[in-house]
Amino acid sequence: MAAKTKARYGMSIDVDRCTGCGACMVACAVENNIPPAPEGATDRKGITWIRVYKIDNGLPFPQNRSAWVPVLCQQCGEHTPCVSVCPQNAVEVDKTTGVVGQIPERCLGCRYCMAACPYQARYFNWWDPVWPAGMEKTLNPTVSPRMRGVVEKCNFCHGRLHEARAKAAAAGRREIDPADYVPACVEACPAQAITFGDLDDRNSQVARESREGSAFHLLERLHTGPKITYRSGRPWVHDALEIKVANNKKEPVRG
């Protein structure tokens, strides 16, 4: 039997476990060589491939309750909005992994994809990447820094995928070991709120969790087929999160 070479990678995020510590954001920035913010950067222009949002149930004190939700590129599987609007073919869906990849070398910075993304999960480089003196030595060699004027976003740590593939190839395997390919945010989460894996493998933890009754997708009515599933036993979380994402104040297009 031929080894399985195709996968459909996805994530399951347990909102009830997330403590909102932000470890996923820091791990993502370290892994993907995202620089610290320049002085003028705000939450509208900052680059956080994964961003933790605070939501609440809208009730007054003391009934008010908060939750924290990491939002990243939802890796749309159908009608991927950013792919269809890019004039440069700088956004591609990898058929072998299902990962929506951003190719900064092709990107012209028109930001159509940012306007098209309903999840506001794409980020524009408003500044050249600069690290404090000496900190360049700590950059991850498997990921190139991007320059001013291009869009970037989560790609499920493609550097780690390449490393896992190289390791599999070195061992004479066609298929990667799932333990070798874990995105940085998943590895970093102290609360183990994020699960990652192949959604096509029905026995994988991520596939099982994605089928749970408390699981939902963001902006499901848009039929974009996201591969990120959220889970929460608190009914208000779903609505509060949709409102938060829809009202996101992130700077999409204007300069």
């Binding site: 939450d43 949002y53 991007r146």
Partner: protein
């Protein structure tokens, strides 16, 4: 055929038009895109062989095992071993490049030599009344401080008042929490889900216990608790006495649930429910320390700690823990002194070990304890903290630059010992704070030598086992042939855990709680407005510049100068969301930006303690060393 000028023009025009139908312009566009990604000023990541090394994080008391991916000797990413890491731990390898790093010894802003600093401090130390503020007690460096202070006239060994083990200290010390056995955890503001003890251990035990969080703020822990009791700021001890009353304490006769409701605002039925749970739902434990925002006072700590005795926690969820063996020569050690026991003006020389971050103490409070003309020497890696007030600033190495030992966290039932080997070379002029004290004392030796001696002392016990981080294998210490083998294991990343724990209750006789003092304080705590500071573990010290992701670029953590208010409170004072406001206390005022949040208790102003905001400095520090809440006013700016 005759070529006319017109034909040439036609050819040029046709060629230009035709070019658009070839791949050339698109290729040129593509290439331009690629070239413009590769300007000379674009940083180039290091190249080289990738290796994996292990260490132990020293940035907070949790002491998490760390796997470092290195290119050459340089760590380029960090990850937890068998679990995640906190944001500070994940970016710990950035600290050697912290932009505000202290690069050389200085005397009041002027560079000086280390020898001059040592000589000056030694001279002042001869006059006695010397104190050392140790931000991270329990290390081998702490032993160095305590040994030297024991020989000094009026030597004071000080530790930060807001400690994670405050409840255990109030119970007499030599104890540890055992959350694994707990079925009910009652936390008085302890940030269990944000950073307390070992996060991995807390999260592992979390499904087993019901968490009751007693706190005015809707902290992350309060949000994730099974029950959140938002007691008014400053009335937590009254609630503790209310629970004590229901658990049968004689000291808390007046504190009926209804009386407690009047003081704290927590419904009597909920107080009864929690007390019932503590009695009937399996072993309970009560935790009352570790809030980076500030400590409880002694009466409050005693009331909280006393609940553990009433709930039968001793020997079950609070267990005795042996000390990690100490090498010879440390027989006489100075005892810990509480900061509020130090008379005002009682210190002539204050040395601060700021290299290991701890929960901050307002400088105004420390200053009160200094005699006129007292000298302050701070061993620090940045000028963000106490070092900005010090006469002598000594550049200290940061995490990963020198070998450090990591004592057990307060929730480790067994004594443990691990090391953080120096993965990187420290800058030339830095000095380990303990080495500075050894030089001042003229005792000779270095911390590195003492660490070696401590490893030998552990090896001599032949007890317990050593777990290596790389593969998780446990080796009985008795099977390690020599202390050198043990030292090698620590350098490669390992943790020694003492064998077993005693289930024997230590038989602590608890001091009677001063209920009247608690009642007086709770009654006086009914402020029209209360400023309640809050903070994050480790955020008081230098953090990686990448933390802009948390503060500036996402605001997942409150930014500098941000005050959180209930919309009703804001309306009352005419303050708008995002508007500027001024918060005033008896100690000063601070301009802040209002952030309206329904999760904030009406009448409360929540403000983050971050380096640079000065929030801590406008908190009213009471005589008992407390600043958890301060009466405040506010107005629109």
């Amino acid at each position: 055929m005759k070529l006319a000028r017109r034909d040439l023009l036609k050819l040029a025009g046709g060629a230009a038009l035709g070019t658009f139908f070839t791949p050339a312009p698109w290729k040129a566009l593509d290439d331009v895109s690629i070239w413009t990604q590769n300007w000379s000023w674009m940083p180039v990541p290091p190249r080289g062989e990738a290796t994996t090394r292990f260490t132990t994080c020293t940035l907070c008391p949790a002491g998490c095992p760390v796997r470092a991916r290195c290119i050459g000797k340089q760590p380029v990413s960090l990850a937890g071993v068998g679990g995640g890491l906190c944001p500070a731990g994940l970016a710990g390898h950035h600290l050697p490049h912290y932009p505000g790093r202290v690069r050389g010894a200085s005397h009041r802003g002027t560079r000086c030599t280390m020898d001059a600093a040592v000589a000056a401090v030694r001279e002042v130390a001869k006059g006695g009344r010397v104190a050392i503020l140790d931000q991270r007690p329990g290390r081998t460096a702490s032993l160095v401080y305590r040994r030297w202070l024991a020989g000094q006239e009026g030597g004071l060994y000080l530790t930060p008042p807001a400690r994670e083990d405050a409840t255990l200290v109030a119970l007499g010390g030599g104890l540890a929490f055992n959350l694994d056995e707990a079925r009910t955890v009652v936390s008085f503001g302890a940030p269990l889900m944000e950073g307390w003890g070992s996060m991995a251990r807390v999260l592992e035990s979390r499904p087993k216990f019901h968490l009751v969080q007693i706190e005015a703020r809707q902290s992350r822990t309060a949000s994730m608790a099974d029950t959140w009791l938002p007691a008014k700021p400053g009335t937590e001890a009254a609630l503790a006495l209310g629970l004590a009353h229901l658990l049968g304490s004689q000291d808390a006769g007046r504190f009926t649930p209804e009386y407690v409701e009047r003081i704290t605002g927590v419904p009597a039925a909920q107080v009864r429910q929690v007390a019932r749970r503590m009695k009937d739902a399996g072993p309970a434990v009560v935790i009352g320390g570790g809030d980076p925002a500030g400590p409880f006072n002694r009466e409050e700590e005693q009331a909280i700690a006393g609940l553990n005795l009433l709930a039968g926690a001793m020997g079950r969820t609070i267990v005795p823990r042996a000390e990690v063996p100490v090498p010879a020569g440390f027989d006489k050690l100075a005892a810990e002194t509480a900061l509020d026991d130090v008379p005002d003006g009682g210190i002539r020389l204050l040395i601060i070990d700021e290299a290991a971050s701890g929960n901050p103490v307002p400088w105004s409070y420390l200053k009160r304890k200094l005699a006129p003309g007292a000298m302050v020497a701070a061993a620090a890696c940045s000028l963000d903290g106490y070092a900005s007030h010090a006469d002598y600033v000594l550049p200290a190495p940061v995490y990963m630059e020198t070998a450090q030992d990591v004592p057990a966290a307060c929730d480790s039932p067994a004594a443990t010992f691990s090391m953080a080997p120096g993965l990187l070379a420290p800058p030339e002029e830095t000095i380990e704070p303990a080495d500075f004290v050894l030089r001042v004392a003229g005792e000779g030796g270095t911390l590195a030598e003492l660490l070696k001696a401590r490893v030998e002392a552990i090896h001599k016990t032949r007890r317990g086992s050593v777990v290596t981080y790389a593969d998780g294998t446990a080796t009985p210490l008795a099977e390690m042939a020599s202390a050198d083998d043990l030292a090698k294991a620590f350098k490669a990343g390992a943790r020694w855990t003492d064998a077993g724990t005693s289930s024997e209750a230590p038989g602590i006789a608890f001091a009677a709680v001063d209920a009247a003092a608690i009642e007086r304080r709770a009654a006086s705590a009914q402020f029209p407005l209360a400023l309640v500071p809050f903070g994050w573990r480790g955020a008081a010290g230098p953090v990686s510049p990448i933390f802009s992701k948390l503060y500036q670029e996402s605001r997942v953590r409150s930014s500098e100068g941000e005050a959180r208010l209930n919309p009703a409170t804001a309306r009352e004072y005419g303050i708008l969301d995002g508007g500027l406001m001024v918060v005033e206390t008896s100690c000063g005022s601070q301009a802040m930006t209002a952030c309206l949040d329904e999760g904030v208790m009406p009448g409360v102003i929540e403000a983050a303690i971050e380096p640079g905001t000065g929030v801590l400095e406008i908190c009213d520090v009471e005589d008992w060393c407390g600043w958890r809440t301060a009466p405040a006013r506010m107005r629109r700016a």
